[in-house]
Symmetry: C2
Subunit: 458 residues, 2 copies
């Protein structure tokens, strides 16, 4: 592809912030995998495998996970509400789905799923979600605190856009980190202050380590505005204990930090001794209101047992920001008009699933449990496999859908990587892709080790 | 709502760029309209009208426009591909929709509509869109130049994020302007350089006026990177002549400006003496390739006869940027993972509609023509009504779905506005809302007059 030299739009002349970050799950290895797949399509048999197994992104339906029938039925009906008036529809859709679709459509502006909605999302759907949150936590939730978004990633980007004023504004993030955070912080002109999770301590979060990082950042002149906590952990798979969460709440309250709680894996927990507790629930159970601590909780339809990544549905619940800020967030959201309606509907379904007595309940539950037990089984199988491999160590997976093993490469491999001019983890990931057709993300893609103890800023 | 004083997240402490812009179509009048509607729901009869008529946003389905059956059938089937294997589905869906849905699903990763797609969008859908563009223009289009997006607004925001490096970078925009442009430019830290459309000359675009603005901007030390042209015009409803478009192409080529061509109203033209020509077609017909001029064309599923605003589908076709820039755009897009799948599918449908011989063709055509003739009729009715009102003048509407009348208020009204401490246009819009239930956007919301001849920057 050539380009027009007069306008001179090149990588050297665009917004320099764009060049400061990488998002490896969609980065070089992923692109190489796509090229390999095209090569394989043209030339089957040219490699010792038939197709690429994409493990570079949490994308369960791309790896064969089936969608929940109830969700898809409701979406299908809401897309085409004319079906709700057709007798034959009963042959194809459950009663339960038709009832729910009717309820959703009736509460929509214009009684159809076509118009722009308010930028914050459709009110009736936000009400269902608030009820779902309240039911989950045992503490009230208000629809006006909920912003529907095109997946959690849009919500995270919007938050960074609101919080970051200059590169002196910093956000505490865990390492290894889900690189959406560093990417978004750098793109919006801020500074990421990493805190280390302990690989030797089951990816535990040590509040003294966070405190040390906060203090160092402050000494460097940074204003730390918020702390990101991903629970269950991405990409590390740990689940925080309530005691640990209480420490985090106390710490953030005392230090005046907003908790940015990435809670998108709340339905993915595989061990009996841990359960999910939202940060809001933990804060409320300590007696703290939104006057004491600000918490933004992110959720999405992409993970859990739903796995509806491409639908781009999600929400953030914002507790403790001023009303004027909520108005400003709405204004920024209105620059993309509104979140997509299918995603909005699906988000409400995930937070308000079929109940006992609904005709589709048995089927819904069976599908849900089958997916969750399959995920748990595969998590354990992988954990066991990694632990039995020579030169590989791996922490226990408690939740989320990832494992983050440490691979101890032999000296010869490290030397070969050096000869090729790449880091050993990238060398390994490329070999795994080329020889076995498995696409993964090298550890450095999560800024493990490489960025340890350094601030990342533009 | 109270807020947490420790973290101190208030309108005074957030990103100051957020406070520099307004997006009036979703602004104060729209919020007041929503409050009024709620009041009316509780207290029917409390006002001399039953419900608010929302004319503040191009949102046709909210005003009763019906969706195209074929589009909704395909979406409904793609949401629930299991239907494609059910005999009973033939009772509810046209052959044509089932065939298309099958084709779309078969080309999808994982043969379902659930997974994340590539950040640029699904390749097979981009191929259909490229074919549609090539068919429309008579010049080739490449799928690798097309980025699928969550509506045109996401594409516009992404472009600004890429092009703007600092407030010295400027973008030429028409006045009256669709305020998404100023909003996005200011939010991303750039400067908007307005050029005036001529109200006395049917909202014509005078290239000497644009040249004058460019020169003034350069004298002020600004680097002007691009020129926004909205054709058919939003909010002004004019359609550019080919001669005028040729002048713009020559001007931008000579001055090294990217043409940002907002072409979302390409299917909305109501006069026989004008037709839509894309800027790319005009440039190619002058013999210019992407080596000579860079053009980004935006399109969306929200307008035209489709009106599927809430679906958030759209694309941009980028011609003339370097390949490295395309990679960087992909990277920024990957921070929100991918555009929503429903929107992607719908965008491909809009660019590849049923053909003669398809079983649904007659019905599709009838629905399309009925919507377009209704839009044309209403446009003419409104134009006539405005022209016959005392104190109102209005240019001819040629395309898009808006009229931008000038309202000459009597001195008493201007005085009353002054007493209330608001500008006369806002005073008028509030009275129209309170007394007649009609929500509009005051002229200043499009920066008409108020910002004439001044640069808008942070």
């Amino acid at each position: 592809m050539s380009y027009n030299k007069t306008a001179n739009i090149t990588a050297e002349t665009i917004n320099p912030r764009v060049k400061t970050f990488n998002y490896e799950p969609c980065g070089e290895i992923a692109r190489h995998a796509e090229r390999l797949q095209e090569e394989l399509n043209k030339n089957p048999g040219s490699r010792p495998f038939q197709e690429i197994i994409y493990c570079n992104l949490g994308n369960p339906q791309a790896l064969g996970q089936r969608p929940i029938t109830f969700f898809r039925e409701v979406l299908s009906l809401c897309d085409n509400p004319a079906l709700l008036n057709r007798d034959e529809a009963h042959l194809l859709f459950s009663q339960c789905a038709m009832k729910r679709a009717r309820k959703i459509i009736e509460a929509m502006p214009g009684r159809d799923s076509g118009p722009y909605t308010p930028s914050q999302g459709i009110k009736s759907l936000r009400e269902s979600i608030a009820d779902g949150i309240a039911g989950r936590d045992g503490y009230p939730s208000r629809p006006e605190d909920i912003f529907l978004t095109d997946g959690a990633s849009s919500a995270i980007n919007l938050t960074m856009q609101i919080l970051i004023r200059s590169e002196e504004d910093a956000i505490l993030c865990p390492l290894p980190e889900y690189p959406l955070y560093s990417g978004s912080i750098l793109l919006h002109g801020g500074t990421m202050v990493p805190y280390n999770l302990s690989e030797d301590g089951d990816w535990g979060l040590d509040i003294f380590e966070v405190k040390r990082c906060l203090e160092e950042a402050r000494i460097s002149g940074l204003t730390v505005r918020a702390m990101v906590v991903i629970n269950p952990g991405n990409p590390t798979g740990q689940v925080l204990s309530v005691t640990n969460q209480e420490e985090i709440v106390e710490f953030c309250r005392k230090e005046g930090l907003v908790i940015l709680a990435d809670e998108v894996y709340q339905d993915n927990i595989y061990v009996d001794d841990k359960k999910f507790n939202s940060f809001k629930k933990v804060a409320r159970s300590l007696g703290y209101t939104e006057d004491d601590i600000s918490i933004v909780s992110y959720h999405s339809v992409s993970m859990g047992y739903y796995g509806e990544c491409g639908r781009r549905g999600g929400y953030m619940e914002i507790c403790g920001f001023g009303e004027d800020v909520m108005g400003e967030i709405c204004k920024v959201a209105s620059l993309t008009l509104c979140p997509n309606i299918g995603g909005q509907i699906l988000t409400s379904l995930v937070m308000d699933t079929p109940k006992i007595g609904d005709d589709c309940f048995e089927n819904f539950l069976a599908e849900k449990e089958s997916i969750l037990s399959s995920l748990a089984k595969r998590a354990k199988t992988l954990e066991k496999a990694f632990s039995s491999l020579e030169g590989v160590t791996c922490n226990r997976i408690e939740g989320a859908i990832y494992l983050f093993p440490r691979i101890h490469l032999p000296a010869a491999a490290i030397k070969a990587a050096k000869t090729e001019g790449v880091s050993p983890d990238i060398f390994y990931a490329c070999r795994l892709l080329n020889d076995a057709g498995i696409a993964i993300v090298p550890g450095s893609g999560f800024h493990q080790v490489r960025l340890l103890d350094s601030f990342i800023s533009v």
